[in-house]
């Protein structure tokens, strides 16, 4: 099985998936994400306190939400 079979989509771009990948470990590989405190993982909101514990499954779709701006 080639590497390319394991992909996730981050902001509509394909990114290589790896086993035990978490949101925190994914963000470490991306640029300009220091203001990212919330993502949508397969439609569900996940906030920064849960980034380390949240495992990303293969084929997941992730959207990085903009800086939370309050009401």
């Amino acid at each position: 099985m080639g590497l390319n079979n394991f992909l996730i989509e981050v902001d509509e771009k394909q990114v290589q998936w790896s086993e035990n990948m978490t949101i925190a470990s994914l963000l470490e590989t991306l640029d300009n994400v220091e203001f990212c405190s919330v993502v949508r993982l397969n439609g569900k909101l996940v906030s920064s306190p849960k980034f380390t514990e949240t495992i990303i499954m293969d084929n997941s779709k992730i959207q990085l939400l903009p800086l939370v701006a309050g009401g």
Binding site: F35, L45, Q63, L65, P66, V68, A69, G70
Partner: protein, 712 residues
């Protein structure tokens, strides 16, 4: 079934002012004492300094009241304005009204920014701003007809008592054939009997063929409205196009409108999905970051909050276009149809609920220990129909519930009602009592500042403890965010001119999560820039949500993403295109700074506006109780050890609470020092002579107020 009885007591015809570059350059004054209708020109100098919107409101208010005026004096005015950009169809958030008055809660000027079509309709009828003062002897309806160019004042009988029905009846009464031409401002019975009455501003929802409304919630302007015996102000106007403001550069306006709307249409579905869930996405986000008020702001999260957030409301909200301004692409003003209340006068009937927004869910849900989407909807419905501000209701009831659980008040005081956290039926009953002005609800309706006095004097409750847990500042109840771990947002609330509403600054994530402003100076800079820019929306008649709730995809690559530089540029283009005043982003800040400082001096004129009034209850700063400390012990212990270098090994939890309090209170005072310095104010929080001169607001009356307060 139109049985209402409106008897005309005064009417005029007028020649409609031509709109030029977003302005009519006219104000309308209705004096209810004499039933006078007065149209005045707005001078160029006032236009240049105050821009419009809240600026115009404050200028008229300043001239209407003296430093001794109380909220229920006849000379207190209610001012409603749009702004030069207000009424641009298709521009996201392009149609807000800004309302001001002297607040029953704070004694100082309050302002509220609200959707619905009234502000634009009133402007297109010929008036940038209207001022209502005096007091009517009978129930009164005011009708500004921008189609027939007439203004009428009516004595009213047989009107429905609540806003829900009244908005609907008056809309059809004043334009049976084209209800879309009508926008109605109403209060309700709750506004008559409490200090935190709101105003409902309506619009006709053409898709659902029904009247909808949004609320000018904060500070009790509805209470002033009801005290003046005004039942409704109605504006009528016909078709509106992008040319209605007669913009200086139509092509530029078309371009910037299209560009901003297109971006929102493309990006909102990928970002916060506000067109689907409104602001309810904030519930899980705040909960996960420990910032959702739970049990009177004691805690910041609760496992059951998942049943009152976007995942639930997304399915409950009625599908359809939900812009509270024409063509607003954000379209976040959602509602629920066929809701059947289980208490009160609408029990068992089917109603449409406008809402809830995040603030209502947090204030009237988690903050009260009510984790039940249906009850929150019912509270939302009755607060609107009765004309009650859901934020003040939620925050006040949270205070009451904590007092009840701590035996500061008992069943003897509450009329036998158990008001423990989570008491859904009794929370609703208090709201019905507020509308009737009866029972314990009548006391709750006075707001937290008054309740603290009443509970101490009449029930012997512990005044110092209530001071710590009563979430009000300047007399206004807090809006719904936990600020304990964000010093900057403590300032965002405590230093806000009107009281603790987050519309001046929302810095929690920048400060607490991203540590973007580590020094006092950094925080002070943010507490300068953000209030100034946010003020600008209120000057122009705009909604702030499209600025920073949906952002360009490359925004994260900019040096200061929180400012959303690309949108600043668009707003400057928008302003330039409509008014013809060529402006860049810095000019927008400069416009606001004059009005902002003027409002601070206005507070001073009313006997407030100094350092002592910028305080916040300790609940907003840190843990008040041992229980609260221990719920986040690891966090607080670490801070005492690492941030403050204290040896805590032999400290009891009580000692630790005291030690942390001392440090945090010191920090808050240091923050005030830095902010005052940055804003060009004295260390007593008063704008200096140099500041008012620099901003061109050194009117003789302003200088006199400063002098009276020792600033020369």
């Amino acid at each position: 079934m139109d049985q209402i009885n409106l008897k005309e007591t005064k009417a005029i015809s007028y020649e409609k002012a031509e709109i030029k570059k977003g302005y009519t350059d006219q104000s309308l004054r209705i004096n209810l004492d004499a039933a006078d209708i007065i149209i005045n020109p707005i001078e160029e100098q006032i236009k240049n300094k105050f821009i419009g919107g809240k600026g115009y409101d404050l200028w008229l208010m300043w001239n209407a009241v003296s430093g001794d005026t109380k909220w229920d004096d006849p000379e207190n005015a209610i001012c409603i304005s749009s702004g030069p950009l207000g009424g641009t169809p298709g521009y996201p958030g392009g149609g807000k009204s800004i309302v001001t008055s002297i607040s029953p809660l704070t004694g100082a000027p309050i302002d509220s920014n609200v959707g619905g079509y009234f502000g634009p309709y009133k402007k297109f009828a010929g008036f940038d701003v209207i001022q209502i003062d005096g007091k009517a002897k009978q129930d009164t309806v005011i009708f500004i007809d921008g189609i027939e160019n007439t203004i009428q004042i009516f004595e009213a009988e047989n009107l429905p008592t609540d806003s829900y029905e009244l908005s609907d009846v008056l809309t059809h009464h004043f334009d049976q054939d084209k209800p879309v031409n009508v926008s109605v401002v109403t209060a309700g019975p709750g506004a008559e009997h409490t200090f935190f009455g709101c105003l409902n501003f309506s619009w006709w929802d053409a898709g659902r063929k029904m009247v909808r409304y949004k609320q000018a919630g904060r500070g009790g302007i509805g209470t002033v409205f009801a005290d003046k015996k005004v039942k409704a102000i109605v504006a009528r106007y016909g078709a509106i196009s992008m040319k209605a403001n007669n913009p200086a550069d139509f092509d530029a306006l078309k371009l910037v409108t299209k560009t901003h709307a297109k971006e929102i249409n493309e990006l909102d579905p990928k970002q916060n999905r506000m067109a689907l869930v409104g602001t309810t996405h904030l519930v899980p986000i705040m909960n996960d970051h420990d910032c959702l008020p739970v049990h009177n702001f004691k805690y910041g999260s609760h496992p059951e909050s998942k049943v009152i957030g976007e995942e639930v409301y997304e399915h409950i909200f009625d599908k359809g276009f939900d812009g509270c301004w024409r063509g607003c692409a954000v379209a976040c003003a959602h509602g629920v149809k066929d809701f059947s209340p289980f208490t009160g006068p609408y029990r068992g009937k089917k109603v449409f609920v406008d809402g809830p927004e995040y603030e209502t869910v947090a204030g009237c849900g988690s903050n009260l220990g009510i984790f039940d989407a249906q009850t929150i909807l019912e509270i939302n419905f009755y607060c609107d129909a009765y004309g009650l501000d859901t934020i003040s209701v939620g925050t006040s009831l949270g205070f009451v519930m904590e007092c009840f659980e701590n035996n500061l008040i008992t069943l003897d005081n509450t009329g036998g009602m158990d008001l423990s956290f989570g008491s859904r039926f009794n929370a609703l009953e208090i709201i019905h009592q507020m509308a009737r002005g009866e029972g314990f609800g009548a006391i709750v309706g006075k707001g937290i500042r008054q309740m603290k006095k009443i509970f101490a004097k009449d029930f012997g409750a512990d005044a110092a403890f209530m001071q710590d847990i009563g979430m009000e500042s300047k007399g206004l109840e807090f809006s719904e965010y936990i600020t304990k771990e964000s010093l900057a947002q403590q300032g965002g609330y405590g230093l806000a001119l009107k009281g603790p509403q987050h519309d001046e600054a929302w810095l929690i994530f920048l400060d607490m999560v991203h540590n973007f402003m580590p020094t006092f100076e950094d925080k002070a800079e943010a507490l300068h820039w953000f209030p100034m820019f946010r003020t600008w929306f209120g000057l122009c008649g705009l909604c702030k949500l499209p600025w920073n709730d949906i952002v360009p995809e490359d925004n994260k690559n900019t040096p200061e993403p929180a400012k959303v530089a690309k949108h600043l540029g668009w707003y400057a283009d928008f302003f330039s295109a409509v008014t013809g005043r060529k402006s860049g982003p810095d000019d927008l800040i400069a416009m606001s700074e004059g009005v902002y400082n003027f409002q601070r001096v206005f507070n001073l004129k009313m006997g407030y506006g100094t350092r002592e009034h910028d305080t916040v209850p300790y609940r907003a700063v840190g843990p008040v109780t041992v229980e609260e400390y221990e719920s986040r012990q690891k966090r607080y212990d670490e801070q005492l050890k690492e941030k403050y270098n204290l040896d805590i090994s032999s400290m009891s939890s009580r000692d630790k609470v005291a030690a942390l309090r001392q440090k945090r209170e010191e920090q808050y005072e240091q923050l005030k020092n830095a902010v005052y310095e940055r804003r060009g104010w004295t260390q007593n929080g008063i704008p200096t002579v140099a500041t008012v001169k620099r901003l061109g607001i050194d009117f003789p009356e302003v200088m006199e107020v400063l002098k009276k307060n020792g600033v020369e």
